[in-house]
């Protein structure tokens, strides 16, 4: 792996981490019910995304 590739991967990792940190901070102002609703909503969306993704690979 050359320096440019290593830099791209490091920046991609940083961007993923920062996005997650921002989302987690945003969640700290939610009520317990809102947190649980968010978890369920994310779960439903993710299930559908994964089914579509696996189907697209066949």
């Amino acid at each position: 792996m050359d320096y440019t590739q290593a830099m791209i991967l490091a920046l991609n990792g940083l961007s993923t981490a920062l996005k997650l940190v921002t989302e987690l901070k945003g969640q700290s102002g939610m009520t317990d019910d809102q947190l649980l609703e968010l978890a369920q909503k994310n779960g439903v969306e993710l299930r559908s995304d994964i089914a579509a993704y696996i189907a697209s690979l066949k």
């Binding site: 792996m1 490091a10 990792g13 981490a17 940190v21 987690l24 779960g43 994964i50």
Partner: protein, 139 residues
């Protein structure tokens, strides 16, 4: 190296936003964190496959493991709703299955051949591990 430094950053952020909370709130925050992190993990999984850093078998295995972890998290949320401000001991009892499904995801990630790709997905899985540890630490 830089990515290794990001893992403690993510875990510390998670602990910082969850300290001084009740057991129920910690569990609710952890469930939301896990769901957000699983979505991020799937985005990274698809991205790495598109970039040719994962084989088809690897990306399918990781996607299925993410799906299993997500199903376990949804079940955790359903059980948590039934407890409603339940005792910490009750919360700890329902975390077990969730922890097992996350172990399955970690195992799937360990089978990724490309070290850079493996490290990138491990970054998001580390947040999930930290969230599980947070609920398991509830007393």
């Amino acid at each position: 190296m830089r990515k290794k430094a990001l893992i403690p950053l993510l875990c510390l952020t998670l602990l910082a936003v969850a300290c001084d909370d009740s057991a129920y709130r910690k569990a609710a925050k952890s469930a939301a964190t896990i769901s957000t992190s699983l979505k991020a993990a799937q985005q990274v999984n698809a991205q790495l496959y598109a970039q040719g850093q994962l084989t088809r078998d690897e990306t399918v295995a990781v996607a299925q493991a993410i799906g299993n972890a997500s199903a376990a998290n949804e079940l955790f949320v359903q059980r948590l709703r039934l407890l409603e401000n339940g005792k910490p001991a009750n919360i700890a009892a329902i975390v077990h299955e969730l922890a097992l499904s996350i172990d399955g995801l970690s195992q799937a990630v360990l089978h990724i051949q490309d070290p850079a790709a493996r490290q990138k997905i491990q970054l998001t899985v580390a947040t999930i591990d930290a969230a599980i540890q947070l609920i398991q630490a509830v007393r």
